[in-house]
Symmetry: C2
Subunit: 359 residues, 2 copies
């Protein structure tokens, strides 16, 4: 066919065809220099192409690239929201996968909304991402299975009870162990009554905390006054009231909360009531947020090992995709994978002792 010199004025964004004709070479050559292929090329050719790229302001079209490569070099991440731990997780994971030449698209499910979550998942899949990472999803497992199918490897973090047909690996923080540790810290500190103040009863992360809370009590041996409270239901004030009521005049009371935010709110109520922390009430939170350190008194909390968690997620996913791992990442997987119970891997949390428990 007679394909006259395609008018560059046609579409404003230049293509490799424009670059090729500007440099006086073929599009294959342009592709080769752009992708820094190992094929031998004349230095002069390279120079001409690079010059044309700059002067034309050429920018490759990744849609075309991916379509042709049948691979996107993109990963998707779904988190409940951008704040706190999840935001830090996203940022760190982005860095990690970039190291392997992948991009990470992050989507927030706007507070565990299953519909939004599903929409994002679907979109990521339509974009043919090479791999998926998600928090323990709110949506039903069945719909997820159908969504993900066999095509795209899915790694979960902080999700419990997912069948291995759906999820390749779950990289979980060991909230149960941490919770047990919290209880024992209270008891070692002289608390004569301990309370767990949770949120969203029924969610996996909450269940893990409850389980650990009870383990901690059991290991103590002697019976202790204790309770499980739902701050979502009772409200912050109601939770404190209930804790006080249940404890009678046993002091101090140890209150272990679902997260730092709840601890901070309880702390504010204690201040208002003239309840002393840590003399009357001791607090332990979770997440080690900025304000746990900056509050008065500062709040004992658990540091989230985002570095390790994202490292494991990234390394495993990369291997799953067929990417070559360096020595460090290989060792990392060898070190942790054997410890996997089923396909769930557990990472320890570190307690940061602060004033709210008298330290």
């Amino acid at each position: 066919m007679k394909n006259e010199g395609s008018p560059m004025s046609k579409s404003k964004q230049p293509t490799i065809i424009d670059v090729a004709s500007a440099a006086g070479v073929s599009i294959a050559t342009v592709s080769n220099v752009i992708n820094r292929r190992k094929v031998p090329m004349a230095p002069e050719t390279i120079r001409k192409v690079e010059e044309a790229v700059v002067t034309l302001g050429y920018r490759r079209n990744v849609m075309a690239t991916n379509l042709s490569r049948r691979r996107s070099y993109e990963l998707g991440l779904i988190i409940p929201h951008f704040g706190g731990y999840y935001g830090r997780f996203a940022e760190k994971l982005e860095q990690r996968v970039h190291h392997f030449g992948y991009h990470l698209s992050v989507f927030s499910a706007a507070g565990m909304d299953p519909e939004i979550e599903q929409r994002h998942l679907e979109h990521l899949l339509q974009r043919r991402v090479d791999g998926l990472v998600s928090h323990g999803l709110a949506m039903s497992m069945q719909s997820t299975q159908q969504l993900v199918g066999e095509g795209t490897p899915l790694v979960i973090f902080n999700g419990w009870g997912w069948p291995s047909e759906i999820v390749k690996l779950a990289v979980n923080l060991d909230f149960a162990k941490a919770s047990s540790q919290a209880v024992q810290h209270f008891l070692a500190n002289g608390c004569r009554s301990v309370v767990y103040a949770g949120r969203r009863m029924g969610m996996g992360a909450n269940e893990q905390r409850i389980q650990g809370f009870e383990t901690g009590l059991a290991e103590h041996g002697e019976p202790v006054v204790h309770a499980l409270l739902d701050a979502g239901e009772l409200g912050v004030v109601g939770t404190l009231d209930e804790a006080l009521r249940l404890s009678g005049d046993l002091r101090p009371i140890g209150i272990y909360t679902f997260n730092d935010a709840l601890s901070l709110e309880l702390l504010a109520v204690c201040h208002e009531r003239g309840i002393r922390v840590p003399e009357d009430v001791q607090l332990i939170g979770m997440d080690n947020e900025f304000f746990a350190r900056a509050s008065f008194p500062s709040i004992t909390s658990f540091e989230m090992p985002v570095d390790l968690q994202t490292s494991l997620v990234a390394a495993f996913l990369m291997r799953e995709i067929g990417e070559e791992l360096d020595e460090e990442n290989t060792q990392l997987l060898e070190m942790y994978l054997p410890h996997v119970a089923g396909h769930e891997l557990f990472i320890d949390l570190e307690m940061i002792e602060r004033k709210s428990t008298g330290n």
Copy 2:
């Protein structure tokens, strides 16, 4: 055990050709029903296609779709980090543009790192997003211009001094006015000395606060002991020390901080030193973060009008892209656009009075 290329199994993902042959129709027909086109079609045909789609587990390939459409129906957002205000902004904007049938890809620049920022921008452009939204970027204007060029409309939020050749519109929060208001609130509350404690001196958002701070002082008429401090340089403790030193025994001292986080940190130091808030020191923050409400005493702050800001950004960008606006959005633009000074639009912040200023 050599891993078989999981990504290769994706080649088994069905295409419209598979669907077409399974349903016994042509690919054009499949395309028509998938996209719910207005062309008349036999109900039976639709049913057959939809059935084939389900049984085959067909999922459209958006890369191919976009390539063909020469349009991505995607927007990009770049923010310095996922936390707090920026995270809320991202979530809200995502909702807004979804309403118009667009997806929003959010990227965090990991704390104003110009290199990462530029990388994300470049990637978004390579993906041929239809529009871009960014905070006042850390990178140089020149490189941005080259990056964005004439192709993709760019809307900035909270960025000052960007030439209109680069930026179509800047939707800014009026930090200057808010800062002026903060100072006047201190003075009306009896503060005999006022201090601005900033961070990252030199950044636009900080400059705006300083400007407003000085305006507020000027409008007061009578001279007041005051100072501009850089908490990034002095540290939190150093900042408080300096404020106390400069104020002699003038009390109370009003300290207006760059954000709530800094207020909270100052509050903690006050507690340690036995300095009373608000009797000796009054505090006003910015962002109205969760902990501003939950701290003790609670901290007066400015609420960020994320709803309005994202509405304006979305409406303007949609119109710029050539999308049809509904009545509501049209009115919104008509209401605010005339007030634009140059191409910078200002939105008022609302002060939330709390205990840290004696309310």
